[in-house]
Each structure stands twice: as C-alpha cells, then as structure tokens.
Amino acid sequence: MSAAAAIRTAMPEAPAFKQGQSVRVLKVDAPGHIRTPHYIRGKNGVIERFVGFFNNPEELAYGRSGLPLRALYRVRFVQSHVWPDYRGAAADTIDIDLYEHWLQPAKTA
C-alpha cells in the first residue's frame, strides 16, 4: 500500500462533533506527551470549528506514525467557567485547539 493510500485508509470519514456542539474535555492525568493543557481538563466548551485531520502529536512525540489521523477542533470556553476567580468581562472566552480523543459529548443538564 502506498503512503498516500495508507493515509486515505486511516482518514476517518467525518469528524465526530459538529460546530456548536457542547463537549466536555476528559479529566485524565494521562502519562506521556500531552497536548491538552491541565487547566482545561474536565471543563465544558462548545465546538467553534473543525480544524482538520492531523497525525496524532501525542504519538509523533515518540517517533511513531501518529496514525490513524485524529480530528482537531477549536473549542471555545467561557473564561469565568475555566477560572473561578476570573475578573474580566462575563462574555470573555478562550479558544483552544483540542484533539477528538480528548473530547466527549457534554451531558445536557
């Protein structure tokens, strides 16, 4: 199989989350090279956009292929939710690029 064919095979059909969908970041203390900041784990946000499919950097960090490709999203969080002592405007948000394997659908209240 050619490299290009291997990548196509590894390419997921579609991202699991849609724009505007509420998601929760996994609250996991995983070992290894992690691309999800500690402060955002366990927080709820909204998918701002799907960015694309990329080799998983948490695998690339160990010299492996990073396949299958992982969906990357820009996720928007409300600052006062992220930082309980936040003193800025209530409407302030922060966008963070997060990989799909760090996200789960947020439970609706």
Partner: protein
C-alpha cells in the same frame, strides 16, 4: 498531577514585553531543528517531549534555547545520530578554541 512544564494558570508576575535580539547560537539551534525536521530525523513533537523529560530542576534552570538544545542533543544520542563520546569531544574542542562562539 500537573506536569511541571504545563504552566497555564500558574501564578506569575508581569510579562516582560521588552524585545531582545536572538544570539547567533540561539538562531543556530532553531536552524538545526528545522534541518533535522526536514531530513526526517527529528520531529518537533519529539523535541517537545524531550523538554518534558529534562526534569523540573534542569528545565527551570535553562533558557528557552538551552532547553531546546539539550532536548535535541538527548534525542540525537537516543536515535544513534551522534554518540555521547562524539558530543563530549566536540564540546572539548570548541572550548579549547580562542573564540568558541564566532
């Protein structure tokens, strides 16, 4: 547990916004990292992982460029691109020069 390099949310003082010129050796570190990436020898992800393996004492005692250099050296030794002996001999040779950093 939060990893030592994961600083988001850590109390910190004011940001030093003063511009500073990169030293020649600092530019060379970045150039080497680009070359190693383009030659498929070392990925930037691997070098970042290396930074996170230095230990907090070493990590916080070094500058940005020093950290990246040390991680690169460790990675190149790990991958067999250079040996510890070759690196030690080269360092000794450079230190013996009249002008180590031309």
């Amino acid at each position: 547990m939060k990893a030592y390099h994961d600083l988001g949310g850590t109390p910190a003082g004011p940001i030093d916004k003063a511009e500073h010129d990169l030293q020649l050796w600092e530019k060379r570190i970045e150039a080497l990292l680009v070359l190693l990436k383009n030659k498929n020898i070392l990925r930037v992800d691997e070098n970042r992982r290396g930074l996170e393996s230095l230990g907090s004492d070493v990590y916080f005692s070094l500058s940005y460029a020093e950290r990246r250099m040390l991680s690169m050296s460790n990675n190149l030794i790990l991958k067999g691109v250079i040996t510890v002996d070759e690196l030690a001999h080269k360092i000794a040779e450079i230190e013996s020069r009249k002008d180590p950093l031309p």
